[in-house]
């Protein structure tokens, strides 16, 4: 297996609605999108953000944009003006998600030049 950090596969943007954050994860190339769909599940994202996100995580697919949208509930320490965090509006949760590392098989990695 080859370990690939998400930041090599995708870019992202995040923002807030109250105490809920969302992260749009966008594949750099169309062929990377199925990898995101397969590996970056709602469960994995919830596990990745344990300690930051205290609620559920939902995932939505946008194949037309080669993108996934994650909605993280109770993820901003109360949200907006209530939150005491530096990043009260979750602007950097995008890059926090890009820290995730996924494992893909060697043949796929070779085919996509990800070794």
């Amino acid at each position: 297996m080859v370990r690939v950090p998400l930041f090599k596969l995708a870019h992202a943007r995040s923002g807030d609605k109250g105490d809920t954050a969302n992260i749009g994860l966008i594949a750099y190339k169309p062929e990377y999108y199925p990898l995101l769909v397969e590996h970056v599940t709602a469960e994995r994202v919830k596990e990745h953000f344990r300690g930051i996100c205290r609620g559920d995580v939902e995932r939505y697919e946008l194949p037309n944009l080669g993108a996934l949208n994650f909605v993280l509930h109770h993820a901003l320490g109360g949200g907006g003006t209530i939150s005491l965090r530096t990043d009260a509006q979750g602007k950097t949760l995008s890059t926090a998600l890009l820290r995730m590392v996924i494992e893909i098989d060697e043949e796929t990695a070779r085919r996509m030049g990800l070794e």
Binding site: R13, G51, P63, A67, I82, D87, R99
Partner: protein, 451 residues
């Protein structure tokens, strides 16, 4: 084809942007968004102090600068600068127009969104105005409410344009409505042209945050994005069939590409199949993008569905006090020193018997952004900023906290610095309460005034 330019993504956005949008090339409409959720409560406070205030004051000198060109070139301006007092804002702009010797400039005023005075009557009539996030009824915090506004959509702006308004000043309305309204007006779209309304809504969503769709705050290959100092704000070239091109003026910096547009499309959305506005429900999974030239992206294929019977309501309420104190510590052992200082502050506050609803410590350059996901910092890190925040409904407790930061300078670990800003400020927390209200309960009003 019509050109709709966004010149302001929020109150406090780049002041040169609207001027450059008007002076930098051809446009038909200039839209300016000034209202964030919290802005409304600030404006209510200003209006209580002075009934002539309560709107985005920056809009008036901006109009003084741009109005002659806008009149000359028949550029219409649409803005939610009216805040909680759109007629006072319109009056101020009328004064400016007269000062400039511009006669017969028509200003449309869209109001009726402010339901603060009607809240009790609405609650009595059985509208619980439950918080969309927590499900709590508004009665739980009724006494703390500072402002309450319905989000109207494009419809009242369209009415004002039909009545000849050159400038439309609204109170609370959807950001997307500012961009959608000129399309409905120019192309005569019907109330049930769901796909077209959805397309115009998508255009509005793309440009509502200003340069965040033209290369600003863009992660995709950010270092290669040219000339951000001179960034071009977005322009929608809208067609009657609902398709449109996102671009920016020639000679400006930044970038319009599928990547910059995708990042903005995904910004602050929930279920992409259900982007809900007063006009329609837009399905973001139907959006197609095509790069059709340098800094030109065509957007097409958007599908929409019928609107819901509700308006969204934005309510703000007083939710206690908070304060944030900081101190910088330098190498060696910068992080260990900051951690020791944090323990000292917490011990002293505990010894005073003070309790807080929340107390949060972060170490800037170590974990403030990514929290537990951040890797361990280098052991020889040059400096660390300690940042402690507290929140409480007890003003005195928060105030006492603000007096426990400076003593660290002489009574704590060595190399404390960076305290020139003085004692932390106690801030009032004005929190946001989103709710729904049946559309039948709020009616926009439209008035036209003339210079």
């Amino acid at each position: 084809m019509i050109r709709i330019a966004n010149g302001q993504g929020f109150w406090g956005d780049w002041r040169e942007a609207p001027i450059r949008q008007v002076e930098g090339g051809p446009i038909d409409y200039l839209t300016l968004d000034y209202l964030a959720e919290v802005t409304m409560s600030i404006m209510q406070k200003q209006k209580r102090r002075d009934p002539r205030l309560g709107y985005a004051k920056d809009f008036v000198p901006l109009m003084e600068r741009l109005l002659p060109q806008c009149v000359d070139r028949q550029i219409r301006v649409i803005s939610n600068a009216g805040g909680v007092n759109p007629s006072a804002c319109a009056e101020a702009v009328i004064d400016v127009a007269r000062k400039l010797g511009l006669k017969g400039v028509k200003i449309g005023i869209v109001a009726g969104d402010d339901i603060l005075d009607r809240l009790d009557a609405l609650i009595d009539a059985g509208h619980e105005l439950r918080d969309l996030d927590t499900g709590r009824p508004l009665s739980a915090i009724r006494e703390h409410v500072q402002s309450a506004n319905v989000y109207f959509g494009a419809a009242p702006i369209v009415d004002a344009l039909r009545r000849g308004a050159q400038i439309v000043i609204t109170g609370r309305c959807t950001d997307t409505g500012l961009t959608l309204a000129p399309m409905i007006f120019e192309f005569g779209w019907r109330d049930d042209d769901w796909d077209k309304l959805a397309a115009g809504t998508v255009a509005g969503h793309i440009v509502e945050c200003g340069a965040q769709c033209t290369g600003g705050n863009c992660q995709a290959d950010w270092q290669s994005i040219p000339d951000l100092a001179n960034i071009g704000f977005p322009i929608v070239e809208a067609e009657e069939d609902g398709s449109f091109i996102i671009t920016k003026h020639e000679g400006t910096g930044g970038r319009v590409s599928p990547a910059t547009i995708k990042e903005q499309l995904l910004y602050e959305i929930g279920d992409p199949r259900q982007y809900i506005t007063p006009e329609c429900i837009a399905d973001f999974t139907t959006i197609q993008l095509e790069e059709v030239g340098e800094n030109r992206v065509r957007v097409f294929g958007v599908k929409g569905r019928p609107a819901t019977p509700f308006y969204k309501v934005s309510i703000s309420y007083f939710a206690g006090y908070k304060a944030v104190g900081t101190m910088v510590y330098s190498w060696p052992d910068a992080l260990a020193k900051a951690q020791a200082a944090d323990r000292i502050v917490r011990r002293r506050l505990a010894d005073l018997g003070l309790e807080f609803d929340e107390m949060l410590t972060e170490y800037l350059a170590v974990n403030a952004c990514h929290g537990p996901l951040a890797p361990d910092p280098p052991s020889d890190i040059a400096e660390v900023q300690l940042r402690i925040g507290v929140r409480s409904t007890d003003w005195a407790a928060v105030d006492r906290f603000t007096r426990e930061i400076a003593p660290l300078i002489l009574t704590g670990p060595p190399t404390a610095t960076g305290f020139a800003g003085g004692r932390p400020r106690v801030e009032e927390i004005i929190a946001y309460w989103p709710a729904l209200l049946p559309k039948s309960e709020a009616e926009p009003s439209i008035e036209i005034v003339e210079s």
